[in-house]
């Protein structure tokens, strides 16, 4: 008996000693795709909405997971750098809202145009800029996407018009709704409803919190913004609506941000830690995608962990670069004010200080 037990244990320990989980991965058969049910969207002035089931392929799933994880880690790294005073100024983080930016990108083409407000790091990444360029812009260095002059709120890329620090008050939105509807412009208006406007909860700020209905004559959808597949399907639906020439449409993404409004806002003076914790444990977008993929055999836990490790490394490298890259030279203070040829002189703080402005 003991001999048999010893033999069995030898075999078992031999199996356990097999090198790297790569071998395990290769030997598993993953499903190619899986069908998931998603929440039905609330509709305004629409007969039918996006589908309630969707197919996620393994490839897409891994891609979305990686992108969301990158955005999450990038935001957390930005938080860290800010607390170390390497990033200064304004910094509005979007961790918790990853499903919005990644899901949106999944539903549109790279040739479509996107413009957003100040919580823009996630969109900057999904629109194609590297984490290096983003972090370097946050730290205000030459390698940044706006050469270090724009900072957190002014990042731009091809077909991505920012990143805007100044944002429209309600009046401007309604003017835009009117013009878009009047001229049937193919425009999706998106409200990332994270339940708070800075420090004011939506119940205290809005006479009607059904933002997807606020377009009035513009049809709208209310979407679960923590579920990336829901966001993707809704975006596809909205994009198809616009492309068919029917005019503008509104999308309200119900989402949540874990951080405060900006780095100077602790985020707990107007909401409870329990609330944040609850959202994190029940509706975290990355966790939801991971659970779905693992449970339907689209990926394994180890594989996803590997992606995590890889992403962490990428972010670490980017942070290194962002910290080490030199700042733009002082001469650039005057650049690009005007497009001017030949360069002209910009008045400085007193009459003997002059900057050259080239463009």
């Amino acid at each position: 008996m003991r001999k048999m037990l010893a033999a069995v244990s030898r075999v078992l320990s031999g199996v356990a000693q097999k090198p790297a989980s790569r071998v395990l991965v290769a030997s598993r058969n993953f499903a190619n795709d899986a069908t998931f049910e998603i929440k039905k969207c609330d509709l305004h002035r629409l007969e039918e909405g996006p589908p309630v089931t969707t197919v996620l392929t393994r490839e897409d799933g891994l891609k979305y997971y990686r992108m969301m994880q990158t955005v999450r880690r990038m935001e957390l790294k930005a938080d860290q750098l800010y607390k170390q005073k390497i990033i200064r100024g304004f910094c509005h983080l979007c961790d918790g809202q990853e499903a919005c930016c990644v899901g949106l990108e999944a539903g549109i083409n790279p040739t479509d145009h996107l413009i957003t407000a100040y919580r823009a790091h996630g969109f900057t990444f999904t629109r194609g800029l590297s984490v290096r360029a983003i972090l370097a812009e946050l730290t205000g260095r030459r390698g940044g996407c706006a050469k270090g002059k724009g900072g957190s709120m002014h990042m731009y890329a091809k077909n991505f018009y920012g990143g805007n620090g100044i944002v429209g008050a309600q009046g401007q939105i309604f003017e835009a709704y009117n013009m878009a509807a009047l001229w049937k412009l193919p425009c999706i208006f998106i409200c990332e409803n994270n339940r708070y406007g800075m420090g004011t909860s939506v119940e205290r700020a809005a006479a009607s919190t059904d933002y997807y209905k606020r377009g009035d004559f513009i049809p709208g959808l209310r979407v679960d913004g923590m579920d990336i597949l829901c966001v993707r399907e809704a975006t596809r639906f909205a994009a198809a609506y616009c492309r068919s020439g029917k005019g503008p449409i509104l999308m309200e993404l119900q989402t949540y941000r874990y951080h405060g409004h900006s780095m100077s806002d602790p985020g707990v003076s107007y909401r409870t830690r329990e609330e944040i914790q609850e959202v994190r444990s029940k509706s975290d977008p990355i966790m939801l995608l991971k659970d779905r993929m693992v449970n339907s055999n689209l990926a394994s836990v180890e594989e996803l962990k590997e992606i995590d490790v890889d992403v962490r490394k990428e972010i670490e490298d980017a942070a290194q670069f962002a910290t080490a890259d030199p700042e733009p030279p002082l001469e650039e203070l005057g650049y690009h004010i005007y497009c001017s040829d030949p360069p002209f002189e910009v008045r400085g703080a007193n009459q003997w200080i002059k900057f050259k402005s080239i463009s």
């Binding site: 706006a146 731009y156 920012g162 690009h336 004010i337």
Partner: protein, 366 residues
């Protein structure tokens, strides 16, 4: 409305002058409009009967330009139409939009353009200045040449945020990745005799401290067409203010073909050696008259400069560096009072040629 003369004329003095005039004067003021000046003889009762608007300036046309080809007699609004016509013909991405531009505009600056170029290129917007400029910025960023009209300069303030915070800073904040340089905003500007608070304003000063935009004001049809074409072709967002009182009053020979007058270059209309008078828009004609009055009555030689571009302005033409040490009298400004632009008091508010002449006299005697 500024010119270099003293702002020392007080409201009190004006009231005394007014009371000293005959009763006929006062009745004439109330009924008909602007007097040519306070020193007009009361026997001009023929004017009272006619009740015509009499302006505070006399438009002085420039000689016919010969270097740009065939010319045609045009007033200011026709010169603007001609410039817009040239732009839409040359540049297939050019579009004109604003309130009521489709039928020709409230000042007829866009007459005929919609018929000629189609409703996709000349179209009306809803009543939303902020939306007009915001929309203009958007299409300029995508590469179209956007020519926006704000119906009166007085209405530009809802769009102030868009102009100052968005348009002016677009290139700078994106590190030259994007820009809205192909945006031009045109707007009727300045006093017109009966405009009162909201149809007479000259808001260029509010924009004069905003790096990133250019503000241009012409004095005549010939200047207007050349400067407007330069603004449209300039790769920076420009605001072009058109003195509305000159729309019909200013008539000149203007070339039919497109031509450019450079921005940020002031024009020395008349050279002089004793006093420099600087103005822009309608006021240039006032100071031209002041210059000839000064020459006749005081034997003073005035240099008359039309600034043309308010920002970035031509510092070198107006004053050489460190000129302060060489001035023999302090610089003066003659402008409207620190009140909102009045309705019934407009004749007293305008910095007319007498106020400017008075300031000039004080400077000479300093």
């Amino acid at each position: 409305m500024a010119a270099t003369a003293a702002a020392a004329v007080t409201a009190g003095r004006l009231l005394r002058l007014r009371a000293a005039g005959a009763e006929g004067h006062w009745r004439r003021l109330r009924g008909a409009g602007l007097p040519r000046g306070f020193l007009q003889p009361a026997s001009a009762d023929g004017d009272a009967a006619q009740r015509r608007q009499v302006a505070h300036f006399t438009f002085q046309p420039d000689p016919e330009p010969l270097e740009y080809g065939q010319t045609q007699k045009m007033n200011l609004f026709q010169a603007v139409t001609s410039a817009l016509d040239n732009s839409l013909a040359k540049d297939p991405t050019a579009v004109i939009f604003g309130e009521d531009v489709a039928f020709g505009g409230v000042f007829r600056c866009t007459v005929g353009l919609r018929d000629k170029y189609g409703k996709d290129r000349v179209f009306n917007t809803p009543l939303c200045e902020q939306g007009i400029v915001g929309f203009g910025i958007g299409i300029a960023v995508t590469g179209a040449t956007a020519i926006a009209e704000i119906q009166f300069a007085d209405y530009i303030f809802p769009a102030f945020d868009q102009i100052v915070n968005e348009a002016a800073k677009y290139r700078y904040r994106s590190g030259d990745l994007f820009n809205c340089g192909s945006l031009t905003i045109r707007s009727p500007w300045g006093c017109v005799g009966h405009g009162a608070l909201y149809h007479s304003q000259s808001p260029e000063a509010f924009f004069a401290h905003c790096p990133g935009i250019k503000v241009v004001i012409p004095r005549s049809p010939f200047q207007a067409k050349g400067l407007l074409l330069s603004c449209i072709e300039d790769k920076n967002p420009c605001i072009f203010f058109e003195p509305k009182i000159l729309y019909r009053a200013a008539v000149e020979q203007v070339p039919i073909e497109p031509y450019n007058i450079p921005l940020s270059q002031a024009e020395v209309i008349q050279e002089g050696s004793d006093v420099t008078l600087v103005a822009w828009g309608t006021q240039v004609h006032v100071i031209r008259e002041v210059a000839s009055m000064a020459h006749e009555k005081l034997g003073v030689s005035c240099e008359v400069i039309d600034l043309r571009t308010i920002i970035p302005w031509d510092v070198d033409t107006v004053c050489k560096e460190e000129c302060f040490l060489n001035l023999e009298a302090p610089i003066s400004r003659v402008c409207g009072y620190d009140t909102p632009f009045p309705h019934i008091f407009e004749p007293f508010y305008i910095p007319d040629k007498w106020k400017c002449y008075d300031a000039l006299r004080k400077m000479i005697n300093y």
